[in-house]
Symmetry: C2
Subunit: 287 residues, 2 copies
C-alpha cells in the first residue's frame, strides 16, 4: 500500500501522539478514523477536525475499512487489542505503532498476528511533557527523528511504507534499526534521562529553590513532569538495559565526584573537554 | 549612588556576561566603559556599539571616573584585580560582580577592599552555552532570576542599589540570600546539573546515537558544552557542597535503580508522582 491520499487510516488510542498523527494526516488529505475508550477524547477530536470518524469501542466495519492502522497504546493494551480484534482487519492491511519499547512488543505482536496483514514497528522520537489529545501538535515532528524497527518477518515494501509515513509526517531524519538496538539506545537516550530528571526532583525537597533557579535546572527537569503509568511500564519493559545504563551513569558520576574531592582540576577539565567535543554531535540536524 | 543615567559604569571582563550587561546598560543610556585583556573583545564591542570606551589594560583615569564597576571575571582574577588596582577607585564607588560562587569570593574581597568603596555581590542566573562578547545578548535576562548576596558589611543603600541594577537589566525576579545559602543552592541547581550533563556525555562513547536522539537527551546535555576553565574553577571553589549534592543524587539514582531491579512498579510510580508534583513549582514566573 502506497501513502496515497485515498488511503483510509485508523488511529487506535487518541492521546497526544495519536492526536498529533491524526492532525498531520488530516492536513495531508487522508481520511482519518480513530478509536479511544474516552468519549471526551473522541468528541474533542471530531470537534477540532482532527478526525473524520471516531469510536469509543471497536466497530468491526470501521476496522475493516482501514488500509492502515496506527497503534498509539500502552504496550500491554496493544497486545490485547490485536488478540481480540485482529479478525476484523482487512486482508493486506498495514499496521504500525509508536511504542517506546520494542523487543518485548514487536516479536510478540508479529507472532500472534494473522499472516495476511503486516505489522512494521516505528518509534517517533518526539513528544511533549503534557498529555492528551487536546495537546496534540504535529509541529513536534519537525526536526525530530523517526525510527523504523523491522524484524526478519517484515517485507521490504512494509519497511519502505513505514519510512514514507515518517517522511510525510514531517520528521527530519528517518533511521532503521533492530528491536534490540532500539531498546539499547532508548534505554540510554530517553529512559536514563527521565530517570535522572525524576531523581533530581525526588532526592531532596527543593521547592523553595524555585525562585533561584536558572535555565539549566529547568532544562534538566522539564521531563520530570512525567506520566507515571506510561513511564513505569516503559522502564519495566526495558529493565535489564536500563539498570545497566543507570549503573554506567552512576559509576561516571562517582568518578567525577572523586576527581572533585581530590581537587584534581586537570582531571575535571579533561572530562569537560571530552563532554564538549561529544556534545557537538548532538545538535539538531541543520542547526 | 542611584541608577540614574548620568552614572558612568565600568565593566571589567568583557565576555558573554560582561557584554550582555554592557548591551543592556548602553541601551538604557548609561556611559559604559570596559576593560578586557583581549584586544579583539574590546574592538568588537566598540564596533558593535556595546561600549563607549574600551581598554586592554587598567587605565587609572578610566577606573577613577567610574561610579559603578561590574566585575565579570573568574574568581581568582577578580581578587588579584582588586589587590592591584583598588587604589584607582573613586571614593564612594560601588562594585558588584557576576561570579557563580560566593562564599570564597565575597568575604575575601570585602576584607581586602578600601573602606570608602563598597562591594555588593550578585549572581545573574542567566547564561548561554556559548561564550565570548560576540554572543552577548541581554534578552537572556528576561524571565531569569537575579540574586543579591549581601554580608553584614553591606549597607542597606548598596543592597538597594544592587537590586535596582537587577531590575533595570530586566530580570524577572530579584532575590536576596547569604553567601552560604547561595553556594548551597547553586551547588544543587547549577553545578550538580552541569556535572550530570558532563557525565551523560563522558560515561560512554555515544556519538553514534545522535541520529536517534529525542529532545530529552538534547535538553539534558545542552550544558554539556562547557567552558572547562571556568567550570572546573567554580566546582573546586564549592567543593564541599557539590560533593555532598553528588552523593545525595547518586543515592537517589541508586534507589530508583533498585526499585526497577525489583520490579517495584508502585514504588517507581510513587517517585514519578512526587517528581511531577514538585516540578510544577519550577515553571518560569508568569508561565
Amino acid at each position: 500500500m502506497e501513502w496515497i491520499s485515498k488511503s483510509k487510516v485508523m488511529i487506535v488510542g487518541l492521546g497526544l501522539m495519536g492526536g498529533s498523527y491524526a492532525k498531520a494526516l488530516k492536513r495531508l488529505g487522508y481520511h482519518v478514523a480513530a478509536i479511544d475508550i474516552d468519549p471526551e477524547a473522541i468528541s474533542y477530536a471530531l470537534g477540532a477536525g482532527l478526525i473524520d470518524e471516531g469510536y469509543t469501542e471497536v466497530l468491526p466495519e470501521a476496522v475493516e475499512s482501514a488500509d492502515a492502522l496506527i497503534f498509539a497504546l500502552y504496550p500491554g493494551v496493544f497486545r490485547n487489542w490485536i488478540e481480540e480484534n485482529q479478525g476484523y482487519l482487512r486482508s493486506g492491511a498495514m499496521l504500525t505503532d509508536v511504542t517506546g519499547v520494542k523487543t518485548c512488543v514487536v516479536y510478540e505482536i508479529q507472532k500472534i498476528l494473522r499472516a495476511d496483514v503486516e505489522f512494521i514497528a516505528a518509534h517517533p522520537m518526539a513528544g511533549r511533557e503534557v498529555y492528551g489529545v487536546k495537546n496534540s501538535d504535529d509541529r513536534i515532528f519537525r526536526d525530530a527523528n523517526y525510527i523504523v524497527v523491522p524484524t526478519e518477518k517484515n517485507t521490504p515494501e512494509a519497511i519502505e511504507w513505514c519510512k514514507q509515513l515518517g517522511k510525510i509526517l514531517g520528521f527530519a531524519r528517518i533511521s532503521t534499526c533492530s528491536p534490540e538496538e532500539h531498546d539499547r539506545m532508548i534505554g540510554f537516550l530517553s529512559q536514563l534521562t527521565h530517570c535522572i530528571a525524576v531523581a533530581l526532583m525526588t532526592c531532596t525537597d527543593n521547592r523553595h529553590l524555585a525562585e533561584f533557579t536558572g535555565d539549566s535546572f529547568r532544562d534538566l527537569t522539564r521531563i520530570a513532569n512525567i506520566n507515571d503509568a506510561m513511564w513505569s511500564e516503559l522502564f519495566l519493559l526495558n529493565r535489564d538495559v536500563l539498570t545497566e545504563d543507570i549503573d554506567l551513569f552512576i559509576s561516571e558520576m562517582t568518578g567525577l565526584r572523586d576527581l572533585l574531592a581530590k581537587g584534581d582540576r586537570e582531571g575535571l577539565r579533561e572530562k569537560m573537554r571530552l563532554s564538549t567535543a561529544r556534545r557537538a554531535y548532538f545538535n539538531k540536524p541543520g542547526k
